[in-house]
Symmetry: C2
C-alpha cells in the first residue's frame, strides 16, 4: 500500500503537532544522508532518529516523504555524465585553482575497506570499482594504479585512452609522479583522504620531480561532482553488553592505564571499528560492517570526546555512553584538536590510519606528537569470553543456514540449471532467516568453474555463469550477526571431479588441517604458521598468491588486524581469544579455484605431558561439511583423516538439532567418516 | 734453536745492508701490531711484510727481535691492575674532561662478532669477556648490560659491588641512562664504536634525563689503559681467483651498475667482510675469521678507495688489486670523506653497521646522505659455483676429520677418561692436518652433560668436565679453509641414552629433516621455514630459544647475513647459492643439551611434475654421521627414515676414500641403515 505525499507544508504541520523541532527542509537533508548510507537491516529505521512519537498520519507522510526524496535523488541529472567529461571537468577545476594535478585515492577519511557512496570518487572519475586503487591526474596525463587482484578489472573498466593503467607493485604511483610531474609543478591532495605516511611518500616523489605536494582546502573533485551524495547518516546505536561482554567504562579504564604509563595525554581514534569497540556502539555508514563514521579522542583519564553528526545519534545513546563520553558535532573536531595543541598535550596518532589533516592540525596547534598505533586495535583483537560465546552461537546458526543451502543446492542442481547470482541470493535468503542477522559481512563470492580462479571474484550480470556439472563451485560468504561475524569458504564438486582437482583440493586440505591442528608456543606470530598451510602444495611445486588468514571482528569488520597468517612478516603474536581465518587455496587460471576456509579462535591448550612452554592452539569455529567427493584419501595420513572425521562428527552433532529432517539426513551423509 | 738478539744497532746495520728502509724503531711498532693480531696460521709470516730479501743473519736477528718484543710486551706492567682501580681511573679521566659519564660497548670500529685485543675495552674495564655487552659508567653508578646468553657469566665475571648487571631485554641501557643520568649531564661516547642508529637511541635516552649525549674526540678509556695493544697488523693478502670464483673487477662492475641506477655516487664500506669479498682479499686482524681491518669507499664508477695501514699490505697486493683500487693510509680517510662532501656526492651508508664518526664527518662536509644497506652483504651471501665447489670440498675434508675424531672418541672413552678441553684439542689436531686449513671458525663448543644446555658454552679450566658414560656430549665446531668455512654440531650418546633424551633428540631430528628436505617457492624467506624445524617439538610443548639457521661466509665469517632461519621476521628471500645452517636443538637446563647442525646450500630444484612455481631446496653440505643410538625409530615416519638412510649412505660413500681402514669400518657401522 503506497502513501501519497501531501507536500512540505502538510508535513511541517504534522511535525509541529507532534511537538517536533524537525521540518521538511531539515528532513530533506536527513533523508538524503540516510539514502547515502547502505540499506539498513535492523530495527533502527530512520524515523527513529527523529526522537518523536509518531502517529499513523505522520507515519504515512514520513514514508511518503522518504519515497519522494528517494525518487528525486534517483532522477537527479545535474551531474557530469560518465566518461572523459568528468576528467575534463576536474582538470578545468584544477586549472582554475592554479593546481597542476590531483591525487584521487579509493578511500575515505576512515581508511576502511568499504566506503560510502559519497567517497566513491575513484569510481566516479575513472569507472574503476575495485576496493583498492589510486588515480593521479596531471594536466596532460592521468593514470590509475591498482594491485594484482584488480589489474584485469581496471583494464576493462577504465578507459585506456584517458588513463594509463598500472600494476602498483611494478609501477608505483610515486615513481610515475616523480617522472611526470612538471618541474615546479603543484600536485594537490585532499588531506582528509591520505594518511601521514602516504603524504610523506608522495612528497618525496614530488620533490624528485622538482615539484611540490600541496594539501587542498577542499576537494576539487567534490566541486565538480554535482550530484555527489552527502555523508551517510546511519543511526549510531548501543551495542548491548550481552554481546560486547565488557562495559565501555572497563575497556577505557584498562587502556587509559597504559596511556598514562606511557605519558600520553590523548589518542586520536580515526578508525570507526576502534571507536565502535571502545564505546560499545555500532553504526551503518558503510556496507557489510556496522561501522559509525565518527572521530574520537580517547583521553588518558578514560574519558572520550566523540565527534558525530547529532542527527545520527539514536535516542537513548547518550545514556548508554554515560557522561564520560562527551558528544559534539563534527565541526567541533578541529577546534578541539587546537586546544590539545594549546595545552601542549602529548597526543598519539597512528600515521598509517589517521587522515593527514589531523596530524597537520595538531602540529600547527603545537601538540607534542607521538608516533604509535591505535591501542584499540590489539585490545579488540583478543575477544572476551562473551564475544567468543557469541561467535560460537553465530557460527552455529550460520553453519545451519549454509548446510540448508548446500543440501538445497545438491537437490536443485539435479532438477534445473542455476547461476552464480541465483545461488548467492538463495544463500543470503537462508542466512537472513537467522536470529540476530544484520546483513552479509562481504559481497558473496559465488564462483563457478573458471570464475573460481579469480580470487576476489564478485558476480555481475556480465560474468554470471551457470553452475555446470563437471566443474568446481567456490563459495566464499559470511554474515554479520549481533553476536558475531562469519566468513566461510567451501569448494564443491559439481558432478564428478577430476583426479587433478581432487589432488589439488586434498593438498589444500592438508594445509588447512596443518594450521587447524598446530600447537605453538606463546609469542608465535601468524606469519610463523603460514608455511604449514603451504608445505603440501610446495612439495608439488604449487602455491597460492594470497595470505592464509586475516583477523575477524566481533560484529565488526570481517577483515581486521593486527594479527594475520601470511607470508608477509608480522611481529604481532597470536593471543588467546584472537579470531583468524584459516583459508589456504589453489587457483588454476581459466579453469577452477579451490579454497577451504574456516574461522578459528586462539586458545590456551592444556599442556601436553612433559610440556615446558605455555602452548596455544586453534578452536575451529566454522561448522560446515567439507566436500568428501573432493578428497583423495590416499594423500591423507592417519592424523589428517582423524582430524577430518572428528571435525565432521562435530559439525553433524552441533548442527543436527537446528535442521529439518531432510537437511539433517543430507548432512549425515555429507559428514560420514572417510574410511 | 734460539737466536740471541744483538741489539738495535746491529739489526739496523743488517737492514741497511739488505737495502731496506726499515729500522729497529719502526720494526718495534710493526711487531707490536703483529702481536696485537691473532696468531697467524698461514705462510704469510710477518717478515713477509718487510718486502726485503732476507739472508740467514738477518733472518736470525729478526726472529730474535720478535722474541724480544714479545717478551717485553708480556712483562709490561705499566697498566692499571685488574679490578675497581680501572673504573676509578676512568672516572678520574672523565672528571678531568668535564664529562659525567661514558658508554663502553663490546665492539670495535667494524662492528664484528670478534674484536682484536685492543678493542677488549669492556673486558678490561669490567672483567666481562662475553661477545656482546655494554657498560655505562656514570659518576656514582655503573652498569653492565648483557643478553640472555651471558647473564650468568656477567654475574660471575663482573664485580657486583661496582657494577649493576642487567639483562638488556628487561633493562635496556637506554632506560637506565634515562633514569640515572643527572639533569644537564653530559654522557660521552666514542663515535668510532657506535653506529648512527645506536647513537640515536642513546641520544633519546639522554634527552629523557634532561642531559645530552656527546661524541668524544678520543676515547677516554684508551687514555687510562696504559698497556692497551696497538691496532692489529695482520698481513692483507690476495684471495686467489681459484677460490673466489669471480674477479674483483667483475664484482665491482656488477654492483656499480646498481649504484648508478639508484643515483648513488659512493658507498662507504665499513664491514671488513664486505671489503674482503669485493676485493678478493683476506686479512687476519681478528680470531676465527680472515678479516682485514680496513675501510673502503666503493665508487659508482667501479673503483675503490681503500684505507689501510701500509705496513699491512703484503708485497704484491697492489698488482692483485689493479689500479682501480687506490690505496691510502688510514689518516687519509677523513679528508677523503670531506672531499665527498665538498663534491656534494650522494653517499650511501649503512646506519646499523658504520661508525657514527663516518656519518658525522660526511654530514659536516655536506655530502648528500642516503640510508641504505651495504650492497656487498646480499651479493656475497649467494655463493658462485666456484665457491660452492670449494665449500663442498672443504666439507669433505672437514667431515673426514670429524669422523676420525668421532671414531677416536668412541675408542678413547672405552680406554680412559677424557675432558671436554682434551676432546676439543684432539678434534682441532685432526682438522689442522687438512689441506687449506687456516684455523677454527669459532671457539669449539665441547660440552659434556649439563654444559650442553648452555647454548654458547665455551670450555674453561674452571668448567672443564669429564665426558662421562650415561650422558650426552654436544660438540659444535668448525674450521676455516682457503676454499670454505664449516660449522657442524653433533650430539653423541656416551653409553646408553635414556628414553627421554632419545625422544627429545628424535624430535629435534624431525625438525632438522623437515628443513633439510623442504621445497619452497622462490621468494620465500628463512623466517618462513623456521616453524618447520620446531613443529615436532611444539607438539610436545617444547621449543628452543635460538634461531634455526645463520648465513655462513666462504672463507669469511662463520656468521653472516642477511639471510637467516629464525622466529625473527625477515624480508630477505633465500636465493640459490646462499649457505645457511640448519640447527634445531633442545636444552634441559642443568641436565643436557641437544643440537643437530648441518650447513645447507640453497639450490634451484628441478621442478616436480605439474609444478607451476620456480622451486628451491637445500643441498646438505655437512658430512658426518648422526648418532643412531639417539634415534627413537618409532617417532620417525617413512619419509624421515628414508632421508636419514640416504644421508648416511652419502656420508659413507663420500668420506670412505678419505679414511684409514679402521675409521672407514667405524663409519660403516655408524651409517648403516636404520631399519
Amino acid at each position: 500500500m503506497s502513501d501519497i505525499y501531501k507536500g512540505d507544508a502538510a508535513l511541517d504541520r504534522l511535525l509541529e503537532r507532534a511537538n517536533s523541532s524537525w521540518n521538511a527542509a531539515a528532513l530533506t537533508d536527513l533523508v538524503r544522508g540516510v539514502l547515502a548510507a547502505p540499506k539498513p537491516i535492523g530495527p533502527e529505521v530512520w524515523t527513529g532518529l527523529l526522537d518523536v512519537s509518531i502517529g499513523p498520519d505522520l507515519e504515512s507522510q514520513l514514508r511518503a516523504f522518504h519515497h519522494e526524496i528517494t525518487k528525486r535523488s534517483q532522477t537527479n541529472d545535474a551531474g557530469v555524465p560518465c566518461g572523459p567529461a568528468r576528467l575534463l571537468a576536474l582538470r578545468a577545476q584544477l586549472k582554475e585553482r592554479g593546481s597542476n594535478g590531483f591525487i584521487v585515492p579509493r578511500g575515505d577519511e576512515y581508511q576502511g575497506e568499504y566506503v560510502p557512496k559519497r567517497a566513491e570518487r575513484l569510481a566516479w572519475l575513472t569507472g574503476f570499482t575495485g576496493s583498492a586503487g589510486l588515480a593521479v591526474v596531471l594536466e596532460n596525463k592521468a593514470a590509475v594504479f591498482v594491485d594484482g587482484r584488480y589489474i584485469l578489472q581496471a583494464q576493462e573498466e577504465v578507459d585506456g585512452k584517458h588513463f594509463d593503467r598500472f600494476l602498483m607493485a611494478e609501477h608505483p604511483a610515486s615513481g610515475w609522479i616523480a617522472a611526470n610531474l612538471s618541474k615546479g609543478g603543484r600536485l594537490g591532495y585532499d588531506p582528509w583522504l591520505l594518511t601521514p605516511n602516504q603524504v610523506e611518500r608522495y612528497e618525496a616523489a614530488c620533490a624528485k620531480a622538482g615539484g611540490v605536494l600541496v594539501a587542498t582546502r577542499d576537494n576539487p573533485l567534490d566541486a565538480v561532482w554535482k550530484d555527489q551524495p552527502p555523508p551517510p547518516l546511519a543511526p549510531v546505536t548501543a551495542h548491548d553488553l550481552a554481546f560486547a561482554g565488557e562495559a565501555s567504562v572497563d575497556k577505557r579504564r584498562r587502556l587509559a592505564r597504559t596511556l598514562s604509563e606511557d605519558g600520553i595525554d590523548a589518542v586520536v581514534l580515526s578508525a570507526p571499528d576502534s571507536v565502535a569497540w571502545l564505546l560499545n556502539v555500532r553504526g551503518g555508514d558503510v556496507p557489510y560492517a556496522p561501522l559509525p563514521h565518527v572521530f574520537a579522542v580517547f583521553n588518558s583519564d578514560g574519558t572520550v570526546d566523540l565527534f558525530v553528526d547529532p542527527r545520527k545519534v539514536f535516542p537513548g545513546l547518550g545514556d548508554h555512553l554515560t557522561e564520560d563520553v562527551r558528544l559534539s558535532g563534527p565541526d567541533s573536531f578541529g577546534p578541539f584538536l587546537d586546544r590539545l595543541g594549546t595545552g601542549r598535550k602529548k597526543v598519539c596518532l597512528d600515521r598509517d590510519e589517521a587522515p593527514a589533516w589531523i596530524l597537520d592540525r595538531l602540529e600547527k596547534a603545537g601538540a607534542r606528537l607521538v608516533k604509535g598505533t591505535d591501542p584499540c586495535t590489539l585490545a579488540k583483537a583478543a575477544k572476551n569470553p562473551v564475544e567468543l560465546d557469541g561467535m560460537r552461537a553465530a557460527h552455529r546458526r550460520d553453519g545451519a543456514a549454509l548446510v540448508r543451502f548446500l543440501s538445497w543446492l545438491d537437490r536443485r542442481l539435479k532438477a534445473s540449471p542455476l547461476t552464480e547470482s541465483e545461488a548467492a541470493d538463495r544463500l543470503e535468503a537462508f542466512r537472513s532467516e537467522n536470529d540476530h542477522f544484520r546483513g552479509l559481512s562481504f559481497s558473496t563470492i559465488s564462483a563457478a568453474g573458471p570464475n573460481g580462479a579469480i580470487v576476489h571474484y564478485r558476480v555481475s550480470p556480465r560474468t554470471d555463469r551457470r553452475i555446470e556439472p563437471g566443474s568446481l563451485y567456490l563459495l566464499d560468504s559470511g554474515a554479520q550477526y549481533l553476536d558475531g561475524t562469519t566468513d566461510v569458504t567451501r569448494t564443491i564438486a559439481i558432478g564428478r571431479p577430476t583426479d587433478e582437482t581432487r589432488q589439488r583440493f586434498t593438498l589444500v586440505l592438508k594445509g588447512h588441517i596443518a594450521v587447524a591442528s598446530v600447537l605453538f608456543p606463546k609469542g608465535t606470530t601468524g606469519s610463523q604458521l603460514d608455511p604449514l598451510a603451504r608445505k603440501a602444495l610446495w612439495e608439488h611445486g604449487l602455491d597460492y598468491e594470497h595470505g592464509t588468514g586475516h583477523g575477524v571482528g566481533s560484529y565488526l569488520s570481517v577483515h581486521e588486524g593486527p594479527q594475520r597468517i601470511s607470508k608477509k612478516p608480522s611481529t604481532v603474536a597470536l593471543e588467546p581469544g584472537m579470531i583468524i581465518s584459516n583459508e589456504p587455496g589453489y587457483y588454476k587460471s581459466g579453469a577452477y579455484g579451490i579454497r577451504i576456509e574456516n574461522l578459528v579462535a586462539v586458545f590456551a591448550v592444556p599442556p601436553p605431558e612433559g610440556a615446558e612452554k605455555e602452548m596455544l592452539g586453534f578452536e575451529t569455529l566454522t561448522l560446515a561439511p567439507i566436500d568428501r567427493a573432493m578428497i583423495n584419501l590416499s594423500l591423507l595420513n592417519n592424523r589428517e583423516r582423524a582430524w577430518m572425521d572428528a571435525y565432521h562428527a562435530r559439525v553433524r552433532e552441533v548442527l543436527h538439532p537446528l535442521l529439518d529432517r531432510d537437511t539433517a539426513l543430507w548432512l549425515k551423509a555429507a559428514t560420514r567418516p572417510l574410511a
